[in-house]
């Protein structure tokens, strides 16, 4: 069975807690707080002010640039203020506060459950609609989707790779979405194929979701060019580069984007959002997230409007379990441990995971025993033990030579180390430094070029 060729690990998938739980809608909050930064790129700019009435789906902040995304109101009501709120780590972030009144939608949004299959829009129009709907990658990266659909000059897309892998342990929202809304995802795929002007799509799904594989394969029969590829179980198969390797056997070169090998990758949740935006005029105002953990009372998959306080979602899942040591936004491999749950739900949060106290504490590291297991595990073919050592010695140049910038933060190295070395902590730190050095060099080069031109 196909999988990516280098490294990888096999964490316990722990999906049984929330797998096959019907997607449940979370009730509307009384006050919604909508962050302006829910994507990678320039922050969105608020276009409403205190006292304005807004409807569901109305633009409340416009994109701050090409690589940016607008924000739509997920609720209807009155804008209370445009101010800063704090994120899950106590840092300030700009947001729009709305007092919710009723649930009135913009009239052009089709709220029926009908599935619309006919699309007469031209490719350009489809991409415009996706851009206007504020759609970003919902797999976790939150990169604005329209940017991916407009390949830079000289590059051509050949195949759309659909990420239905959900390789993070515990998370089940994409799995459930495929089971419940597979047809819409298929239509989303058709739309993206049309937008890109290509004919072939491959849906990668790991074999721990046999029902999703069967369901999607059945649906794919009616969608020419779409193929389901069952993949062997291995983390981080959902990583963009790994998924492309697993599906079509091409490796994206270091420092390049997937388009370099003719691939465009989108997550199933993103494709569902694309369908809703293009066919039903519904912008991105909600997402499905998994709330789970070994001691959570009602683990499950919840559809949440953005701006809803996480606390409200948690309550629905049965409250914070007594023995919680860590709350993670996302999965256990790449998710971030939160300091508090005062944050509102947004495009970035794909899940909430409550880890028990005894699982939350890291084991004391011992000496590196040079077993090489981290080298074997690294899916990018790096040498984590060496990078960590160089980072501790602040040898940034050598780290750059050893390609630290290729690191995708997957955590396989730390996961696998028998000595519990905090490898990725060191590597991340070094990566920050090396990245800074590279940018500084680029800037200096640009300045030198500008100066030379000014002289002429």
């Amino acid at each position: 069975m196909n999988t990516f060729r280098i490294g990888g690990v096999h964490p316990h998938d722990n999906k049984e807690f929330s797998a096959h739980k019907q997607i449940a809608a979370v009730p509307l909050p009384q006050k919604a707080i909508i962050p302006l930064v829910q994507h990678i790129g320039a922050p969105a700019k608020a276009v409403v002010a205190k006292g304005d009435k807004v409807l569901v789906g109305q633009v409340i902040a416009e994109a701050g640039g090409f690589v940016s995304a607008p924000v739509h109101s997920p609720v209807s009501g009155t804008v209370a203020k445009v101010d800063a709120t704090t994120d899950a780590w106590g840092l300030p972030m700009p947001a729009i506060f709305i007092d919710v009144e009723g649930d009135e939608w913009l009239p052009e949004i089709d709220r029926t459950a009908d599935i619309k299959t006919e699309c007469t829009l031209e490719p350009k129009k489809i991409i415009n609609k996706i851009q206007a709907a504020g759609i970003v990658g919902l797999g976790g990266a939150c990169f604005p989707t329209h940017v991916k659909l407009l390949p830079p000059p000289g590059k051509v897309a050949e195949v759309l790779i659909v990420n239905g892998v959900e390789c993070e342990p515990y998370l089940t929202c994409d799995h459930q979405l495929m089971l419940e809304r597979g047809e819409q995802i298929m239509l989303g795929i058709d739309l993206v194929l049309k937008a890109l002007g290509i004919k072939r799509a491959i849906i990668g799904i790991e074999k721990n979701k046999p029902d999703a594989i069967a369901h999607m394969a059945e649906l794919a029969k009616k969608h020419p060019g779409v193929e389901v590829k069952p993949l062997a179980l291995k983390y981080p198969q959902g990583g963009e580069k790994q998924l492309i390797d697993a599906c079509i056997g091409r490796q994206v070169p270091s420092g390049c984007l997937p388009i370099e090998v003719g691939a465009v990758v989108d997550n199933v949740a993103t494709l569902y959002a694309i369908y809703e935006a293009v066919m039903k005029n519904k912008p991105l105002i909600s997402r499905v997230m998994t709330v789970t953990g070994k001691s959570v009372k009602n683990p499950g998959n919840y559809e949440v409007r953005f701006g809803t306080p996480l606390a409200q979602v948690i309550e629905l899942a049965g409250g914070i379990p007594e023995d919680t040591g860590k709350i993670i936004g996302g999965g256990p491999m790449m998710g971030r441990a939160m300091q508090n749950v005062d944050m509102p739900c947004n495009k970035r949060v794909s899940g909430l995971l409550f880890m028990k106290k005894d699982e939350s504490v890291r084991v004391e590291p011992e000496n590196c025993i040079r077993c090489g297991k981290c080298v074997d595990a690294c899916p990018m073919g790096l040498e984590p033990y060496m990078l960590a050592k160089l980072s501790a010695a602040q040898n940034w140049d050598k780290m750059e030579q050893l390609n630290v910038m290729d690191c995708i933060d997957c955590g396989c190295c730390l996961f696998t180390c028998p000595s519990h070395r905090p490898l990725l902590d060191y590597i991340r730190y070094g990566k920050g430094k090396v990245g800074g050095n590279i940018r500084a060099r680029q800037m200096a080069a640009q300045a030198a070029k500008a100066a030379a031109e000014a002289k002429k």
């Binding site: 280098i6 964490p11 316990h12 780590w89 342990p169 580069k241 390797d245 490796q251 070169p253 270091s254 919680t324 040591g325 860590k326 709350i327 993670i328 256990p332 491999m333 790449m334 998710g335 971030r336 441990a337 939160m338 300091q339 508090n340 880890m355 699982e359 939350s360 504490v361 890291r362 084991v363 011992e366 000496n367 590196c368 025993i369 040079r370 077993c371 090489g372 080298v375 074997d376 690294c378 899916p379 990018m380 073919g381 790096l382 040498e383 033990y385 060496m386 050893l402 390609n403 290729d406 933060d409 955590g411 730390l414 996961f415 696998t416 028998p418 000595s419 990725l424 902590d425 991340r428």
Partner: protein, 328 residues
């Protein structure tokens, strides 16, 4: 509620140094059982003394010289003791065993800063020290007698490799008739260090190590293949019976023990698979050169120690295959 905030990942494989060491110890048990059958109480006593003194020395050095938390619980000292014992003849005076343990742990391991820091395999440092200091005692191999014989008055046997060496020197293949049968060599009923005699028991352990993913195949297989190839070519050219020569070369003289358990020591072997293969080929070549032309009949210890010294170099120059590496 106080939440723990730490960077990702928040999951761990559950692997630990202790688990890996324990796996190697378990893998060595079949060989230990054969040693008990072949050499009786001598094997048990030598092993017990070696393991206990290694652990004791490690604990003492941690506590009184390095003044840090002792790492005895990670079982690496137990493993060193076991491997050291496996490399000794079972009738070695016990005070020499203790001395070997002191050198292995004190000089071979702790003087470099403990587990993970030593460039050379500690058990081999101990053994080579003894081999050079006590050449007579270290090369007096008792004949396998089982529990019936007391090891003190065991008659000594020439090792199969010694016979091979004589045959090579004399260029006379009739000397090889003195060799034990290949089955004896394979199963362990031959003279030699106590843990090295049974190739089959060591191979069973190898399978266990592979199944538990404690080690990968790269080092043992590259050593064994290199040695086999070398042996076949050499025997053919020297006009010795190829099968006997090959079988004896592989089964005797700690080749299996070295290839599977000593050369694969995490700390002193290369990190990358490619490096491991180069390292394995290096060991295979050196051991055969020593055996065919050198002064010692076996040479596995020296070969491994020499390649241990090359390991940092291999780590520096051989890198794993990167994802998306452009072909040059």
């Amino acid at each position: 509620m106080k939440l723990i905030v730490a960077p990702a990942p928040h999951a761990h494989s559950g692997d630990s140094v202790r688990k890996n060491m324990l796996n190697v110890i378990i893998a060595l048990m079949p060989a230990f059982i054969v040693a008990m059958i072949a050499f009786g109480w001598g094997a048990v006593i030598t092993t017990a003394v070696s393991v206990c003194s290694c652990v004791l020395f490690e604990w003492l050095i941690c506590k009184f010289l390095m003044k840090e938390r002792s790492h005895v619980g990670d079982l690496s000292a137990v493993l060193t003791g076991l491997l050291l014992a496996f490399n000794l003849p079972c009738n070695l005076p016990l005070w020499i065993v203790v001395l070997g343990a002191l050198v292995a742990i004190g000089v071979g391991k702790m003087s470099f800063g403990g587990l993970g820091q030593n460039p050379f395999n500690p058990a081999l440092v101990g053994r080579v020290f003894l081999l050079i200091s006590f050449p007579v005692q270290m090369t007096t191999w008792p004949r396998p007698l089982g529990f019936s014989g007391s090891y003190l008055d065991a008659e000594t046997a020439a090792t199969p490799l010694y016979t091979l060496k004589n045959a090579i020197k004399a260029g006379d293949s009739s000397i090889l008739d003195e060799l034990p049968t290949l089955w004896d060599s394979f199963s362990g009923m031959i003279g030699g260090s106590l843990g090295e005699v049974s190739a089959i028991a060591l191979l069973i352990g190898f399978v266990y190590l592979l199944c538990t993913k404690t080690i990968t195949w790269h080092i043992p297989v590259s050593i064994i293949l290199t040695v086999s190839l070398f042996a076949v070519v050499f025997a053919a050219i020297a006009g010795l019976p190829v099968c006997t020569f090959l079988g004896t070369t592989l089964c005797a003289g700690g080749l299996m023990l070295g290839a599977i358990y000593m050369a694969t020591d995490y700390v002193t072997s290369p990190m990358t698979h490619c490096g491991q293969i180069v390292y394995g080929i290096g060991i295979g070549l050196i051991v055969m050169i020593i055996r065919c032309w050198g002064a010692y009949p076996e040479g596995m210890s020296f070969a491994i120690l020499i390649m241990n010294a090359v390991t940092p170099l291999l780590n520096m120059y051989i890198h794993p295959k990167r994802f998306g590496e452009k072909k040059k």
